[in-house]
Subunit: 332 residues, 2 copies
């Protein structure tokens, strides 16, 4: 394993210390590992909290800031935060208007966030949970019952975050988040496996001429292994998998994210985006907004995911709303 680290044990704390140093507008509590806006909870605003295992950066810490998350609780690499850490994030985000938890559908996350929500309720805090389960590759997987939660998390956090910033109440913000998840589908392909600091070796073996089609963001197995093919053919399979799961009518507008999994050059992601755009055009789908880059990663995995979200009522307006976070910034 070759990584920039001091020791596997201190990796997360060292990375969070650097994150805190780089972003004076944010605050990292080294005791709880909760990342918040330096100004604290916004009075009267519904809080938005997310978290999960580390290793998917910029998700979630890079999405803390105005217009998106109020707090993030990063667990150890590929390991859910414990309930007490999630509870600390809820306390930090709550200003009396209640808090929405955005939870990717992995068994450990679901359990720990549920326990945290119960602990928060015991303290009189109002909490709603939005479960993200957008990955159409497999139903039930390593660590998951049902579909996995992956790239759509970014869309849920941005759009629900904008709804909260505009003064939506707890039920409305949670409903917005759930509508985004319901409108979103994702599919990922890996060319190589990522390496966790603790394991020190790639999470799975993949022959030099094969790809994992439908991979999860922790390297979970997908639908099948295939020989490496031209990008156009790989992308066609990704687009079709997404649209076959949730058909999109011709003429409909969508938000598209072509997301790098950590080890893929930006030039390749743009190449993939071009193929996605061409295939969607073939199927009569119109791209209203797009993002191309590394947003929901799997350490240094080479590969990418595609997320398509139909532009339901209000989504584009909320997508365009100002956001000021380390990883997404516009309108400010």
């Amino acid at each position: 394993m070759k990584k920039f680290l001091n020791s596997a044990d201190s990796f997360l704390d060292d990375a969070l210390a650097g994150f805190a140093a780089a972003h004076p507008g944010l605050s990292v509590d080294p005791a709880t590992r909760v990342v918040t806006r330096a100004g604290g909870a916004v009075p009267g605003k519904v809080g938005l909290v997310s978290g999960g295992g580390s290793g998917h950066e910029p998700l979630h810490t890079g999405f803390v800031g105005a217009g998106m998350l109020d707090a993030a609780c990063p667990g150890e690499v590929f390991t859910s935060p414990v309930p007490d850490q999630v509870l600390a994030a809820v306390r930090a985000a709550d200003s009396g208007a209640g808090t929405v938890l955005v939870v990717k559908n992995y068994t450990g996350d679901v359990m720990n966030f549920r326990l945290a929500a119960e602990l928060a309720a015991d303290e009189g805090l109002r909490v709603e949970t939005v479960l993200v389960d957008d990955d159409v590759a497999v139903r039930d997987s390593t660590f998951t019952a049902g579909r996995r939660g992956t790239g759509a998390t970014l869309l849920v956090e941005k759009i629900a975050g904008a709804a909260a910033a505009r003064g939506g109440d707890l039920a409305a913000v949670a409903d917005t988040g759930r509508r985004v998840d319901a409108a979103s589908r994702s599919f990922a392909v890996a060319l190589t496996a990522g390496t966790t600091p603790a394991a020190g070796r790639p999470g799975f073996d993949l022959p030099e001429d094969e790809i994992e089609v439908g991979v999860g963001i922790h390297g979970e197995p997908g639908r099948r292994r295939e020989k490496l093919r031209p990008a156009r053919e790989i992308v066609r399979g990704m687009v079709d998998a997404v649209l076959d799961d949730r058909p999109v009518e011709r003429g409909r507008e969508v938000i598209v994210v072509v997301n790098g999994l950590g080890g893929t050059p930006l030039s390749e992601l743009y190449l993939v985006y071009g193929e996605v755009a061409a295939r969607l055009a073939d199927r009569g789908v119109r791209i209203a907004r797009n993002l191309v880059g590394d947003y929901v990663t799997s350490l240094d995995m080479a590969g990418c995911s595609l997320t398509v979200c139909t532009a339901e009522d209000g989504f584009l307006d909320l997508w365009d709303a100002p956001v000021d976070t380390p990883a997404l910034r516009w309108g400010v």
Copy 2:
């Protein structure tokens, strides 16, 4: 080699087509491979043009937009654009106020941009050239006489771009760019080599427990190979190399870029940034602004570079000025 591509021959054009599809505010001429703002040259404003071999994305195409470049001319991967392509970019950027060319110091780039400047002058266009040569690792290298141009290119393009946007004349914008280069020093470390689509295999061999200290952005050899060590020790060497080349007085403010070379997870870059900040604090240097992320890459190389630029008169104000490009966006 495992990459998302249709063929090595069409890689650049396919990637540019995807880039154009993703960014409707920009325009890509498939014939000349010149990227411009969709609105064309800004009347009365000095034009800013850069380019060089592809494979370093988002540099330079991702820096085209308001507050930064007017045009970029990407060559084939790791290959300088030819003079005619550079000339096409100058023509596209020129609105009568003259054009500044930002050129990284590689022999091919220097020669081709010089020829293009002469061709432009023959057409009556006024051109000034800013040479970027910030990399302190080696004096003379593969493809280079003198120091290599690397991470500081981003700083030159942002700060000179802001000077142009504010109405600086040709001499003033070029002078600003030269002052940024003079104030900047960089140093990079590779953990792995990148793979070009044409070669299909890593650009150099590096044993599993070794790193290349002082690597160039095309995989050029650095100062030496070392055993992998804790990040704190590696970073100390990088900071000291930069400050030994150009000492920074105690109490001085600097802009710091911790730049990923393409294959390194963001969490590791933040960890590196934390160590950089600690080492600079030890040496009494104050970080006024920072960037952490992939800006000047080397395909899928794992590694990072450090750039330190002293905050000379006006630099921070120009740094903070609005910028609206695919890879850098704030204030808009």
